[in-house]
């Protein structure tokens, strides 16, 4: 199996290298063929690994590939840990990636329009794009397959790099290159916490290997460390919270969420792949992987559940006032990531990972469908200029409907199973903060349904608000675009109902996820679980279903039936509208405090510290002293050759004399 596991990430990497370095030689067709072949191999092999572990019951694979370095007895290694959690992630990542690769052929076909005519960077941009998304697939695979903290960090930062490159893919656009720098820096804030967490792990366990560290987790629970003088902190809580700060950056949780909406400056295929389905869920995956640590820290779990609940509810609200089709979906992603985080906090790790999986499919679908709309609209993204697209784009329409129903958790669709189990699980949790989280995510259901159908109605129904020229050219997208939509619509409908039994209430994850007995809310739920159909039936008795329906109907009423209501509501609650429209002023605060603040600090330190004090007082002061000293010694330098010659002779005599004695 070793070679097979190694081949999975390497197939994608080789495709990326060929398309990246030899893009000009192999041309567009060569580039997309070689990368699709690479990712296709990764996907097929991932499925083999999945079958091997899930159906044939292969034992957990935990081996090192090579030793990066050994220092101070600590082994820094590159290695794979393959269990049921890993194979699921591998299959999702490579599967969505493959769909996105195919879709990109259609989406980027006329990409040359996005570059200035004379730009040499534009000529091979198509090939470069494929190289980047394959490189992303490689990095993400290394992240999920890792068996140690160092490689996790490698993958963690590598996906951040590719995200940076792809958000700023259209380097000519000022907004894009602003957004990618912002994304990288905000992620670095998260990584700052993450690396300190890793340092703490090394100090207290002497190892970076998951198995070693998890084995020592229980011992850490009793230890404490001092951070501020006098106050003692539990070591395990410090480690868990620091690691979670990393997850907050990557999975865009408040207050480190600010980069994700701006990341929509990148081309739509990567919004689907990186900023919805896979990379942003790395934080969720990481915490689930670390469940043997988190289970020993209720403080960290409470922190997580509150952050997640805030993100789930507050970010959903912003989605209501957005008019850019991609930004609505971006805020929806933030909100759904909040749901996953809440599930982690409630110790329902498998529910979080389950929602991660269903979300990967339906959110990738929604983004790619939005991209299909954007192609048809000649790169117009403002929903106020759309409407009535249903009759022009039937495939996009029906697949979007499936994605939207999955997103709002309509009974029977994939998202329903995952979201409902999260809500139920949190309901059972007794952790501090769980009560608050329960109501936040319950209200979030209404919000989700509202903004989702607002988008749906504004784009596909109602009057056609686009200009004449655009309307004449409206048509369904080519098959390379619609095929991935159809292929993603299938799991968006069915995968939830098919897998809920084993994943949440069966023994699917086995030893991959550890839950302390007193936190086991899913076991609690499992007592009443009698199959997927009963689960659907049961939901009609709970509040979530009715809230979702209320959201759907409100959206229909406001955006279809009585369009002036939206305007009235806006005027009535103008303060709320302003607050949401300005995204709670997070961006303004960051720009003023961190952005302008650090530039000011830098300027002052430079001008006052370096220039005025060190150079002005110390260096020039010494120079003056030397100058004065030189003024005295100048008398020794007469400029007469015989004086110098005389001095030299004396010197030589002294040296010789020393040699003799």
């Amino acid at each position: 199996m070793d070679t097979l596991y190694l081949a999975i990430p390497l197939a994608s990497l080789i495709g990326a290298i060929i398309a990246g370095i030899f893009g000009a030689q192999i041309g567009r067709k060569g580039a997309h063929s070689v990368t699709i072949l690479g990712v296709g191999i990764s996907f097929m092999l991932s499925l083999i690994a999945l079958k091997h572990h899930v159906f044939d019951g292969a034992p957990v694979y935990n081996e090192s590939v090579y030793t990066w370095l050994v220092s101070d007895g600590i082994r820094f290694e590159v290695g794979f840990l393959i269990d049921n959690l890993t194979v699921m992630m591998m299959a999702v990542v490579t599967g969505v990636s493959l769909m996105v690769h195919i879709y990109t052929i259609g989406y980027m076909a006329d990409d040359l329009h996005n570059w200035p005519r004379t730009s040499l960077a534009g000529t091979n941009a198509y090939q470069r794009f494929f190289s980047y998304i394959s490189l992303f697939t490689f990095s993400m695979l290394m992240l999920v397959m890792s068996n140690n903290f160092m490689q996790l960090f490698f993958g963690w930062e590598a996906v951040g790099l590719v995200s940076y490159l792809l958000i700023g893919f259209w380097t000519v656009r000022p907004t894009a290159v602003y957004a990618n720098l912002k994304a990288f820096l905000v992620n670095r804030v998260g990584d700052f916490g993450f690396i300190l967490g890793i340092a703490a792990v090394v100090m207290y366990t002497g190892s970076l290997d998951y198995a070693d560290v998890f084995g020592k987790a229980e011992g850490l629970a009793g230890q404490s460390m001092s951070i501020f003088n006098g106050s003692e902190w539990s070591v395990i809580s410090v480690i868990c919270i620091l690691l979670f700060v990393g997850a907050m950056g990557k999975s865009a949780q408040i207050p480190l969420h600010v980069w994700l909406p701006d990341s929509m400056e990148g081309p739509t295929p990567i919004s689907a792949l990186i900023h919805a389905a896979t990379m942003v869920t790395a934080g969720i995956f990481m915490v689930a992987r670390m469940s043997p640590l988190y289970e020993y820290s209720e403080a960290a779990l409470s922190f997580i559940i509150v952050i997640g609940a805030l993100t789930a509810f507050l970010m959903g609200l912003i989605g209501i006032v957005q008019n850019d089709i991609k930004r609505v979906i971006a805020y929806s992603t933030l909100s759904q990531l909040g749901y996953m985080t809440v599930a982690l906090g409630a110790s329902a790790y498998s529910a979080a990972v389950f929602h991660l999986m269903t979300h990967a499919f339906f959110k990738a679908l929604l983004f790619l469908a939005a991209g299909s709309v954007i192609i048809a609209m000649h790169h117009e993204q403002d929903m106020r200029k759309m409407g009535g697209l249903k009759k022009y784009m039937p495939i996009t329409y029906w697949t979007s409907l499936i994605g939207t129903l999955a997103l709002i958790g309509f009974p029977g669709f994939s998202g329903f199973f995952s979201k409902d189990s999260i809500i139920e699980a949190v309901h059972h949790s007794t952790l501090p903060g769980a009560h608050f989280a329960y109501y936040a995510i319950l209200l979030g259901v209404f919000v989700t349904a509202f903004y989702s159908f607002r988008l749906f109605f504004m784009v596909f129904h109602g009057e056609e608000r686009m200009d004449q020229h655009t309307r004449e050219h409206l048509r369904e997208s080519p098959w390379v675009v619609t095929l991935p939509l159809i292929l993603l619509a299938i799991p968006s409908m069915f995968i939830g109902g098919m897998t809920i039994g084993p994943m949440l209430f069966g023994d699917y994850f086995g030893s991959a996820i550890f839950i302390a007995e007193q936190h086991d809310v899913l076991a609690e739920l499992g007592k009443n679980f009698h199959g997927a159909f009963a689960f659907v039936e049961h939901s009609f008795g709970g509040p979530a279903f009715y809230l979702a329906m209320a959201g759907l109907i409100s959206a229909w009423f406001i955006y279809m039936k009585s369009p002036q209501t939206a305007e009235n509501m806006k005027n009535r609650f103008i303060w709320l509208y302003r607050l949401l429209d300005n995204k709670y002023y997070f961006d303004d605060f960051n720009a003023a405090f961190f952005g302008a603040g650090s530039r000011l600090l830098g300027r002052e330190l430079w001008q006052q510290g370096d220039v005025k004090f060190i150079d002005g007082v110390l260096v020039n002061g010494s120079a003056k002293l030397v100058g004065w000293f030189a003024g005295v010694t100048r008398h020794l330098q007469t400029g007469y050759l015989y004086h110098y010659a005389f001095a030299m002779i004396i010197g030589v005599i002294v040296l010789l004399a020393m040699g003799i004695f």
Partner: protein, 506 residues
């Protein structure tokens, strides 16, 4: 091991080569001296690989030792030898010099033979600094190596080259004088100039403190550490590209090497007593300088400040070891070797990355004759290949995992956590600051719309520049993806040093 005096050859071959190039002069075509210099540097590099292949990593003893009387009346010896600290730095020197010779190929029009000779002679002298085991012998190389650098800045430098040279001179001169006094004092006390004898010499606390401070004056200026760093940005700005590369890639390392070879083993108790001072200066370098780098308008100054911040990790790693041992919370007692090895790797990696950054700026400067960030914008549209390399090196400078820039920072951050949470906290701020100043520069120079006609007319890198960039990129990736071969040769020497300084001389 063969009987070939390899270290002597490595020191004298480039010096003789430099003299030969000088004698060949600038009559007629310059390509003769260029090829000659290239042959000498490549030969030196290939020979220096013999140090790696012939190196016995299992021992901390000096290897390839040569010892002859030089000035017997003062017990001064012609004494060479290398261990796990100096050997990698010598190879870094021979490697970098090749790139510098190639980088100046057609660019230097003014007196090319003298320009190239200065680098060759400097190469030999720098190898001498790393290989010398006699303190006076060391001191001679230490001072002599500055002369070619003064000449390089003074003749091929920019407009304010005289100011920069004088500033450089005052700083280094004041530092070196104290070191010389300390060395002579120890000779009078111990009767030997052999550095290894000085390691074993017993010294009182007062003596140690004074000697430590004298060394600190010399080495802190070289590294440079805050607050004696202000010569570096000026020297870099005025130096020609090749000079900047050598300055950043090799000369700064001599400061870090000095701490390892002199300060720590000769005055361990003083180092222990004053470690808070060095740690403070290092952390200030990382944070304060990070902010200062952010607002620089000149690309070379920005990279110069970033060098100071990165070298802060070297001094932090070297001096945090005492507190790692003493931290009661550090139950395993581990972390000290991690810190020192991290510092060493950081030095080597910084050699590659800072060299690459200065070469990058050189490529732009050769075409546009300005280093002002505001003169650029949208370079990616006219120089896509160059932009790809630049973004790669910028990411390495920001410490991206997979590049060499990550290895040392990662090791030192982890190690300093073993001493104190806040040390790691402040050091880890480099993740944010380093990315901020480097990538903000990248954004303004490479991205966006084409800023002006000059940028639009830029030609992408030629084959010669491609060779340099590719070589450095491979080095940065190789060290980032598999640092073990470099770390493994250091283990014995690091263990030996740590055992030595753990043992008080009092």
């Amino acid at each position: 091991m063969s009987d070939l005096p390899l270290l002597s050859i490595l020191v004298w071959l480039p010096i003789l080569g430099g003299i030969a190039v000088l004698l060949a002069g600038d009559k007629g075509d310059a390509s003769g001296v260029r090829v000659m210099s290239l042959v000498f540097t490549i030969a030196t590099f290939l020979l220096s690989l013999g140090l790696y292949t012939g190196f016995d990593a299992s021992t901390a003893d000096m290897q390839f030792v040569e010892r002859h009387a030089w000035i017997p009346v003062f017990d001064i010896y012609y004494h060479f030898g290398v261990d796990g600290f100096s050997m990698p730095l010598i190879i870094l020197t021979t490697f970098t010099t090749i790139l510098v010779v190639i980088a100046g190929w057609e660019v230097i029009k003014k007196k090319p033979s003298q320009y190239l000779a200065a680098f060759l002679i400097m190469e030999g002298l720098m190898i001498g600094v790393f290989a010398a085991l006699d303190a006076i012998f060391f001191y001679v190389f230490w001072e002599a190596m500055l002369v070619p650098m003064f000449i390089l800045i003074g003749i091929w430098g920019g407009e304010r080259r005289v100011y920069a040279t004088i500033k450089f001179f005052i700083y280094t001169f004041i530092g070196s004088v104290f070191m010389l006094v300390a060395l002579i004092y120890m000779y009078f006390q111990g009767g030997s100039f052999a550095i290894l004898d000085m390691h074993e010499m017993s010294l009182s606390m007062n003596e140690q403190i004074l000697i430590f401070l004298a060394f600190l004056a010399a080495f802190a200026v070289k590294v440079p550490m805050w607050p004696v760093h202000t010569w570096l940005p000026d020297a870099h700005v005025e130096a020609p590209t090749g000079g900047s590369v050598i300055l950043a890639a090799i000369m700064l390392k001599i400061g870090g090497y000095g701490f390892i070879r002199f300060s720590l083993p000769i005055t361990p108790d003083a180092a222990h007593a004053l470690d808070w001072l060095i740690i403070l200066m290092s952390l200030v370098a990382v944070v304060y300088i990070g902010f200062v780098a952010l607002v620089q308008r000149d690309m070379k100054k920005l990279v110069a400040y970033s060098s100071i911040a990165h070298m802060g990790f070297v001094t932090l790693g070297l001096f945090v070891v005492f507190q790692i041992w003493e931290n009661p919370a550090n139950a395993t007692g581990n972390g000290a070797a991690l810190a020192v090895e991290g510092a060493m790797i950081q030095m080597i990696s910084h050699g590659f990355i800072s060299g690459a950054m200065f070469l990058m700026i050189g490529v732009l400067y050769d075409r546009m004759h300005t280093r002002e960030i505001s003169a650029y914008g949208g370079v990616v549209h006219s120089m896509p290949v160059f932009a790809a390399f630049s973004v790669f090196f910028a990411m390495a400078n920001a410490g991206l995992p997979g590049t060499s820039g990550f290895v040392g920072e990662f090791m030192v951050i982890i190690a300093s956590f073993h001493a104190n949470f806040w040390y790691a906290f402040l050091a880890a701020l480099t993740l944010i600051l380093g990315a901020a100043y480097t990538l903000w520069m990248v954004k303004r120079v490479f991205y966006g719309e084409v800023a002006n006609d000059n940028v639009a007319a830029l030609k992408d890198i030629n084959a010669r520049e491609l060779v340099i960039m590719t070589t450095l990129a491979v080095a940065v990736l190789a060290l980032g993806l598999w640092p073990a071969p470099v770390i493994d040769v250091m283990h014995a020497s690091v263990e030996n040093l740590l055992q030595h300084i753990q043992f008080s001389k009092l």
